[in-house]
């Protein structure tokens, strides 16, 4: 009896490790970087498995999610730019239409409290629904996506492996996409090696930049996620007529013009910047904070201290802050084969 158990146990272990991939350590499980805060995702309801992750990866790169099968998540969220849009200030949805907000990077999602520039969604599982159903993005209906997936033998097998079901439902589809996105952790930059005492070092200019960054930017771009996840009006407009930001969600005038503080990880490559992508370079961003912050009722108090607008910055300080921000670029993340297009061999 014990022998039989042992043999079955071995067989189970064996079947996990004979599918052609040799994971290094925990390559298909969630691992929190030591310098990150606690994860927010409900892993107890949806833990990551290799099959679930691979299903999510396929869905992420498959235009089947859109109404006319032309747009995949990866169209506007490309790995080479930390899963942001490399080309457009406003991404193109089906029929070439575009919206009013810049596609943000998809990185370190397991640690977020809110999603989208206005924080309208606060659980990762629901995030893809916006892109799938928005008429200017994928313009599809969720029940129709489920029907299409149910008609595909490719996905029937994948859902069978990942969740033990042959009939697809939206919950399992969203679980798979979350498993893929939860694995998109960027914590392998030069800064990370430095801060974790992991054999990395920063130059003198970069270290000075770090000190300046903490003093001038760190109140909002806080923690090693480089965002405090709050909603703030950073003074880029006075009236916010085109996009009221957080107010759209809370219907509260005190939230007018507030947008979620973005992470600055991989900021070097996630241009253009701000919710509407109005700035092309990091220099323009810092120039804004130094000299063109606009006053309004909801302007963040940090940007209006002692009656003067903006953040005091010299040219030298701006240069060093940018030098530091570039140490947050994580090429290993952007080249990680686990996250690449599975349909491209």
């Amino acid at each position: 009896m014990r022998m039989t158990c042992a043999v079955i146990g071995l067989a189970l272990l064996w079947s996990c490790s004979t599918d052609g991939i040799s994971p290094e350590g925990n390559a298909y499980g969630f691992q929190k970087p030591v310098n990150f805060p606690a994860a927010t995702y409900t892993f107890e309801n949806n833990s990551i498995t290799k099959d679930g992750f691979e299903l999510g990866r396929a869905l992420f790169y498959d235009p089947i999610l859109s109404a006319d099968s032309t747009i995949a998540c990866a169209n506007c969220h490309q790995q080479v730019r930390s899963f942001s849009d490399p080309v457009h200030r406003f991404s193109k949805g089906i029929n070439d239409v575009s919206g009013i907000r810049n596609a943000p990077a998809i990185q370190n999602m397991a640690f977020q409290n809110h999603f989208f520039w206005d924080g309208g969604v606060h659980h990762l599982d629901f995030v893809p629904i916006n892109a799938i159903t928005n008429s200017i993005e994928m313009a599809e209906k969720l029940d129709h996506v489920v029907d299409k997936l149910n008609g595909s033998s490719f996905y029937a097998d994948k859902f069978q492996h990942a969740f033990g079901i042959r009939e697809v439902n939206s919950q399992k589809m969203l679980f798979a996409l979350s498993q893929f996105m939860n694995m998109l952790i960027s914590a392998d930059s030069r800064y990370d090696y430095y801060i974790r005492n992991d054999g990395g070092s920063l130059s003198n200019d970069e270290l000075q930049g770090l000190t300046l960054f903490r003093a001038k930017c760190g109140a909002c771009h806080a923690t090693d996620l480089f965002t405090d996840q709050s909603f703030r009006n950073n003074g880029i407009d006075q009236t916010f007529k085109q996009d009221s930001g957080r107010q759209r969600i809370t219907e509260f005038s005190g939230d007018r013009g507030k947008f979620k503080v973005p992470s600055l990880r991989n900021a070097e490559v996630t241009f253009p910047y701000m919710h509407d992508g109005r700035f092309r370079t990091l220099e323009e961003v810092l120039n804004h904070y130094q000299q063109s912050v606009k006053d309004s009722e909801t302007l963040d108090s940090i940007l209006k201290q002692n009656g003067s607008l903006g953040i005091s910055l010299t040219d030298d300080e701006k240069t060093k802050i940018i030098v530091f921000i570039k140490t947050l670029t994580d090429q290993n993340f952007m080249k990680d084969k686990r996250f690449s297009n599975p349909f491209k061999k």
């Binding site: 014990r2 599982d125 919950q171 759209r248 809370t250």
Partner: protein, 266 residues
């Protein structure tokens, strides 16, 4: 020794199986059905009529094209004070019901395995509470593919009433009231439009037994929803509402629009 292991092994499995199937399932348990019947005043609600058969409190004629709402967290109180709580699962797979006027079956919510008793009161929630959405992707009645998930402002439409009125200034003279919003938060002034409603059976009781299948017949009156004390609706302004605050006053009409009409002991 080997034999002893085998015996212990099968014994433990047998215990596991027995203890699972034994859980709360006594012979005295039975089902009960809550029927949600939608009406307008004294007449039964009919969708997509060719005329405008109904009139609201402002004297505006209208017809209804869609009515749907979520019922959840059902509790039944018996005459001796004991309360049965319909189990709710965090992924929405049980305890949540979507009543849709287009689907007669959806209007009869049957709770199985209710302990025997003479029930005299029902409590239920119209809406979907925050904790459910915080648990992640949902299934069952809460499957977002059912079309009542609010993607832009995460949450569910609790109740949707749509129709047509000649006085509406919206395209095709439609009105659309999508009541939702659960994120009550004083700091940002957000509202919760979730309503929990308790109704007694007007002195009657519903006897749940193994051999009885009582049915509680509830009514939802569209006119009471439009003409309540929270807001008296006119279709002539603000007839397209799709946000929590836009429906905050209107949601005050929900509770009084539900009544228990009668109980079939069966």
């Amino acid at each position: 020794m080997k034999k002893l292991y085998s015996i212990l092994f099968f014994l433990s499995i047998t215990i596991a199986i027995v203890s699972c199937s034994d859980d709360g399932n006594t012979d005295a348990n039975g089902p009960i059905t809550l029927e949600f019947d939608n009406i307008v005043g004294t007449t039964n609600l009919e969708l997509n009529t060719s005329t405008m058969p109904y009139t609201n409190g402002k004297g505006e004629s209208y017809k209804v094209t869609w009515l749907t709402y979520y019922v959840s967290n059902i509790k039944l109180k018996s005459a001796d004070g004991t309360v049965f709580t319909d189990p709710v699962k965090s992924d929405g797979s049980s305890g949540y019901y979507l009543v849709d006027e287009n689907d007669a079956e959806s209007q009869e919510i049957t709770l199985e395995n209710v302990p025997a008793g003479d029930y005299t009161e029902v409590t239920f929630t119209i809406g979907v509470d925050a904790s459910q959405v915080d648990e992640g992707a949902q299934t069952g009645a809460l499957d977002p593919a059912k079309g009542l998930y609010w993607s832009w402002n995460s949450g569910y439409i609790f109740m949707a009433l749509e129709g047509v009125s000649p006085v509406s200034t919206e395209t095709d003279k439609v009105f659309q009231y999508h009541v939702g919003g659960y994120k009550e938060d004083a700091a940002s002034n957000q509202v919760s439009n979730i309503k929990t409603i308790t109704l007694n059976f007007n002195g009657d009781s519903a006897p749940v037994r193994a051999e009885h299948e009582p049915e509680v017949h509830l009514l939802f009156d569209v006119n009471k929803f439009l003409n309540g004390t929270g807001e008296q609706v006119t279709f002539s302004t603000n007839a397209s509402r799709h946000s929590p605050k836009a429906c905050a006053d209107l949601s005050g009409n929900i509770s009084a629009a539900f009544v228990v009409d009668h109980v079939h002991a069966n």
